[in-house]
Amino acid sequence: MPPDNEHDFEAFARASQHTLYRTAYLLCGDADAARDLTQTTLAKLFQYWRRVAAADHPHAYAKTVLTRTFPSERRRGLRALVAHRHVDPPPPPRHPDLRVTLLAALSTLPPRGRAMVVLRYWEDLSVEAVAGLMRCSEGTVKSQCSRALSRLRSELGDAEIYTAER
């Protein structure tokens, strides 16, 4: 019979994994990588479960762990890619679909910039909260988000028209 803390963790994991997976997908741009990132995040949460369970907002904890795990997992993935002799990433999508255009546009941002955009506009966090989470100044968040938004605006321009015409 598993201890209570494992039951609690499993219940939490099942309740939060899909939300984490969606955010992870926006960060990684790839379903497999998003699943791995979600699993690593949940494993880290179990590692420190006593503290997580005692937190006022365990789901916010989980988002923080996910966001901070993302850059290191990405680097590990890049190194594994080199070691396993994989070839170039898949070509960009042929159709100007808003969804795939967004992922392509997000992939042009540096990981920290992408994380800031996802936290700011998907998680709807304040500039102050994003700065605290990303361990940087509010000015950095504002400038990175502004630059990223400008880039996304130009990338999404055609897709917006496409969407409007559908």
Binding site: T40, Q47, R79, H84, L98, L109
Partner: protein, 276 residues
């Protein structure tokens, strides 16, 4: 001004809508609770083992009366006789580390038992002394951090580069293939003085506009890596070449540090549990 704000608001709405659609139709997610639980258990036990073995080492060294960096074990390759920089035991008090706030739930060096934390801090300080000497002149100021024993910071002109020096018990699942011919990645291999094969990689990181540099090799029972990452805020590449990192890796003083960490591991083995 008003138009600009309107345009920005519209873009935010567009981005939110696209994010919602992009993440709504994902492939089904298998239940990750079980695999995450298993991986979490392994992470916990590895941490306990690493801390326990570290404390045992400190006790043993305390009994012996001194910490000797130049002393030799027999499980790892012997270092070359000549050393240009010799790591020396640090005198207290140690310089203050760069503080990095741990992720909620994440442990930092402050959570380690006193004896183990002191051992790791001393090792970090010796690593700072050796690496500052061996890295190219003008690279900037190197400092240890208080988040974990592997992480350091190199600062120059307001730019901050993360340096990772890791000596981790060997992970058998880790691929041992030589560098691949991947676009944008520059690979070099070299033989260190004691016959160890090392691999150096310069690879695009972040947006692909900047590069990080990394050298890795096996030593004794450990996987060793030394890497310098780009400064993401200023979008600046790591200020070191693969040749320069290979030269550091080949230096006797650096290999002395590696041998110490190999004989008295400070971090746990890294491996993963596949999702199922």
């Amino acid at each position: 001004m008003h138009d600009q704000e309107h345009l920005e608001d519209r873009t935010v709405l567009l981005v939110r809508d696209a994010m919602d659609r992009a993440s709504a139709d994902l492939p089904p997610l298998p239940d990750l609770a079980g695999p995450a639980l298993a991986e979490g258990r392994r992470r916990k036990s590895r941490t306990r083992l690493a801390v326990a073995s570290g404390v045992l080492c400190v006790v043993a060294l305390g009994t012996a009366g001194a910490v000797s960096l130049a002393g030799g074990g027999h499980s790892a390759p012997e270092p070359p006789a000549a050393a240009t920089v010799t790591p020396t035991p640090t005198a207290s008090p140690l310089p203050e580390p760069v503080h990095i706030e741990p992720t909620p739930g994440e442990e930092s060096m402050a959570d380690l038992p006193d004896a183990e934390r002191t051992r790791q801090e001393n090792f970090q300080q010796q690593a700072v002394a050796v690496l500052q000497e061996l890295l190219p002149e003008g690279i900037g100021t190197m400092q240890r951090t208080d988040i974990n024993v592997r992480q350091y910071q190199v600062t120059k002109g307001g730019k901050k580069f993360v340096l990772i020096f890791s000596v981790r018990p060997h992970d058998p699942s880790r691929p041992s293939k030589p560098c691949a011919d991947v676009k944008g990645v520059v690979c070099r291999t070299a033989t260190l003085p004691d016959g160890v094969e090392a691999e150096a990689i310069t690879m695009p990181m972040d947006s692909g506009e900047v590069t990080g540099t990394w050298v890795a090799f096996r030593y004794g029972g450990s996987d060793v890596s030394l890497s310098l990452n780009p400064d993401e805020t200023s979008n600046t590449s790591a200020p070191v070449t693969d040749d320069q990192l290979l030269a550091v890796a080949a230096a006797p003083a650096f290999l002395d540090l590696v041998r110490i960490a190999d004989e008295q591991p400070m971090v746990e083995r890294q491996s993963s549990v596949p999702a199922g």
